[in-house]
C-alpha cells in the first residue's frame, strides 16, 4: 500500500513539473510574440493557481526555470555616486557594502529585476492613451497601478543609498543608477571594443 501511495505521489509530482515547464514555455513565447497572456481552460487547472500554489511553492517547482534562457538579457548593475554640496563626486560604489561574490551576484539579479520592472511600468504607461480628463474606472486603475510602480522604483533607489550616505562626511546628496549593457549584434560589433552601457533609470536624493 505504501509503495502504491509513493508511486502515485511521485507520478503526480512529475506531472505537475511537466505542466509547469510546458506552461512556462508556452506562456513566455505567447506573451513575447503576441503581447498577451495565454488562457487555456484545461491546462490552467494544472498550472500554478490558488489551489495548487502552496504545493508548488513548498516543493520549489514553481520556478519558470531561469535557465530556460528565453530572451536572455544583458548584464545589469546598480551604481551609487555620493556628492558634496557642489555636486562634486566624493566617491562611487557598485556593491553597496556587499563583500562576497554570492551577494554581489544576487545584487546584479536585483538590478535585472528592477530593469524589468521599469520596462513593464513603461509598457503600462504606453497603454494610457486617453486624455488626462478621462476618469473612467479602468483608466484610473491603470494610472494608479503605474504611478505606484513608478513610486516603488524611486523609493527603492532612495533607500539603497540612504544609510551609507549619512555616514560619509560632507555628503549632501547621492545618485543611484540602474545601468545595463546595450544588446548588440555580435556579427556587426567591433569585437574588441567594450560594450556600450545605458542608464535605465536614475534618481538623485538629498541626505536626510
Amino acid at each position: 500500500m505504501k509503495k502504491k501511495i509513493l508511486v502515485l505521489f511521485f507520478t503526480g509530482h512529475l506531472v505537475l513539473i511537466f505542466f509547469q515547464a510546458f506552461w512556462a514555455n508556452l506562456d513566455s513565447y505567447w506573451s513575447f510574440h503576441y503581447d498577451e497572456t495565454l488562457k487555456i481552460p484545461v491546462l490552467s487547472m494544472f498550472k500554478q493557481n490558488r489551489y495548487t500554489e502552496p504545493y508548488y511553492i513548498f516543493s520549489g517547482i514553481n520556478t519558470g526555470y531561469g535557465f530556460y534562457g528565453t530572451h536572455t538579457s544583458t548584464e545589469k548593475y546598480l551604481k551609487i555616486i555620493y556628492l558634496d554640496a557642489n555636486d562634486k563626486k566624493i566617491k562611487s560604489d557598485r556593491y553597496f557594502e556587499l563583500t562576497g561574490t554570492n551577494a554581489i551576484m544576487r545584487l546584479e539579479g536585483y538590478a535585472s529585476f528592477l530593469t524589468n520592472y521599469v520596462a513593464e511600468t513603461e509598457k503600462l504607461i504606453e497603454l494610457d492613451t486617453t486624455d488626462v480628463s478621462d476618469t473612467s474606472p479602468e483608466v484610473v486603475k491603470l494610472r494608479k497601478r503605474y504611478n505606484y510602480r513608478k513610486d516603488y522604483v524611486v523609493k527603492t533607489l532612495k533607500w539603497l543609498g540612504k544609510q551609507k550616505a549619512k555616514d560619509i562626511p560632507n555628503c549632501t546628496s547621492y545618485t543611484v543608477k540602474i545601468i545595463t549593457i546595450v544588446p548588440e549584434n555580435v556579427w556587426n560589433r567591433n569585437r574588441n571594443t567594450k560594450p556600450n552601457i545605458y542608464v535605465v533609470q536614475e534618481g538623485t536624493f538629498p541626505v536626510q
Partner: protein, 298 residues
C-alpha cells in the same frame, strides 16, 4: 474492465520506479551533497546576509524587498503575525542559525526527514524575504530539500540508521524521480532556447557572458554561435541521449561541462554545483558508497 485498465496503468507506472540496485548509494550521495552545497552557500552569504535579511540592517526595508515578489501574500501574513505578537526580533535572530543547524542534521542524517522539513520551510521564509535577489539556485535548493524530506534520505549511512535501526531497504527507485525531473527541465529548456533566434546566432550567449568587468565581450562570434547551438541541441536531446546507455556518459559529461562553464564564466557557482550534483546523483555509479551501503545492508 475499468479496474483491469487502472490496474494495468498502475503496473506500468510502478515499472517506471523499478529498483535498479543503485537507489541506496543515490540517497546517501544526494543527501550529503545537497546539504554540503547548501551549507557552503549560506556560509558564503553569511557576512552579507544582514543586508538582505534582518530586522533593520537590510539594504532596503524588508517589506519593499518582498512587496513585489510572487509570495507576498504569504510573507505579508507571516510577518504580520510575527509583528502583532512581538516575535519579529526573535524570528530574525533564530531563523538563520536554525536553518544552518537543520542543514547539519541533514548532512549527518540526524532526524533527517524532520530536519529537511524545517530546512525547506526556513529556506523559503529566509530567501523569499529577499525574493528579487533570488535566482535559479534558490529554486533548485528548495526542490532538493523537498526531495530530502520526501525520500528516505536519512535511512542509510546516517545517525538515524544507528538510532532507529530501521530495515535497510527502500520501496522504490527514488533516483528515477530526479532522472525524469532533469529530463523535463532540460528538454523544455532546449525548446525554449531553440525558439529564441539569439541562441542560433551567438547573440544570446554574448548577452549572457558579456560584462563590464571581464573581456568575454571579445569572444569570436563563431565560437559564441557554436556554443549557443551546442547548448540548444544538448539540452533538447538530453532526455533521448540519456535514455540510451551508449550515449549517456557523453551527454552527462557535456552537461557537466556546460554547468562548469556557467560556474566560471557567470560566477553562478552554487547553481552549477547543484545541477552537477543532480546529474551525478541521477546517473553516476558511486562505487565507493555502494560498498559502504552493501556492508550496512548485509
Amino acid at each position: 474492465m475499468l479496474f483491469k485498465k487502472v490496474h494495468s496503468l498502475y503496473n506500468k507506472l510502478e515499472s517506471i520506479f523499478e529498483k535498479d540496485g543503485k537507489e541506496i548509494s543515490f540517497l546517501i550521495f544526494f543527501r550529503i551533497a545537497v546539504a554540503s552545497i547548501a551549507l557552503i552557500e549560506i556560509g558564503s552569504l553569511y557576512s552579507d546576509l544582514p543586508s538582505l535579511f534582518s530586522s533593520s540592517r537590510t539594504l532596503i526595508p524588508q517589506e519593499l524587498l518582498y512587496l513585489e515578489a510572487g509570495d507576498f501574500k504569504y510573507l505579508h501574513a507571516f510577518y504580520g503575525f510575527l509583528k502583532s505578537n512581538e516575535l519579529l526580533d526573535i524570528f530574525y535572530s533564530i531563523a538563520v542559525p536554525t536553518y544552518i543547524t537543520a542543514l547539519f542534521c541533514i548532512l549527518f542524517g540526524l532526524f533527517t526527514r524532520f530536519a529537511a522539513g524545517i530546512a525547506v520551510i526556513l529556506q523559503l521564509l529566509i530567501f523569499k524575504s529577499f525574493g528579487p535577489f533570488n535566482y535559479g539556485y534558490d529554486f533548485f535548493l528548495t526542490m532538493s530539500l523537498f526531495y530530502c524530506m520526501a525520500f528516505p534520505a536519512g535511512r542509510f549511512y546516517s545517525i538515524d540508521a544507528k538510532i532507529f535501526k530501521r530495515p535497510q531497504i527502500v520501496a522504490l527507485n527514488y533516483r528515477r524521480v530526479i532522472q525524469i525531473h532533469l529530463a523535463i527541465a532540460y528538454f523544455f529548456s532546449g525548446i525554449s532556447k531553440g525558439l529564441d533566434v539569439g541562441w542560433w546566432n551567438g547573440n544570446s550567449v554574448w548577452k549572457a557572458i558579456a560584462s563590464v568587468d571581464n573581456s568575454y565581450y571579445a569572444v569570436y562570434p563563431l565560437i559564441l554561435t557554436v556554443v549557443g547551438i551546442g547548448t540548444v541541441l544538448l539540452e533538447f536531446s538530453y532526455p533521448f541521449l540519456v535514455y540510451y546507455k551508449k550515449t549517456r556518459k557523453y551527454v552527462i559529461t557535456g552537461i557537466i561541462m556546460m554547468h562548469a562553464s556557467i560556474a566560471f564564466m557567470m560566477e553562478l557557482y552554487a547553481f552549477s554545483a547543484m545541477m552537477i550534483v543532480w546529474n551525478v546523483a541521477a546517473y553516476s555509479n558511486i562505487t565507493m558508497i555502494n560498498k559502504t551501503s552493501d556492508v550496512e545492508t548485509a
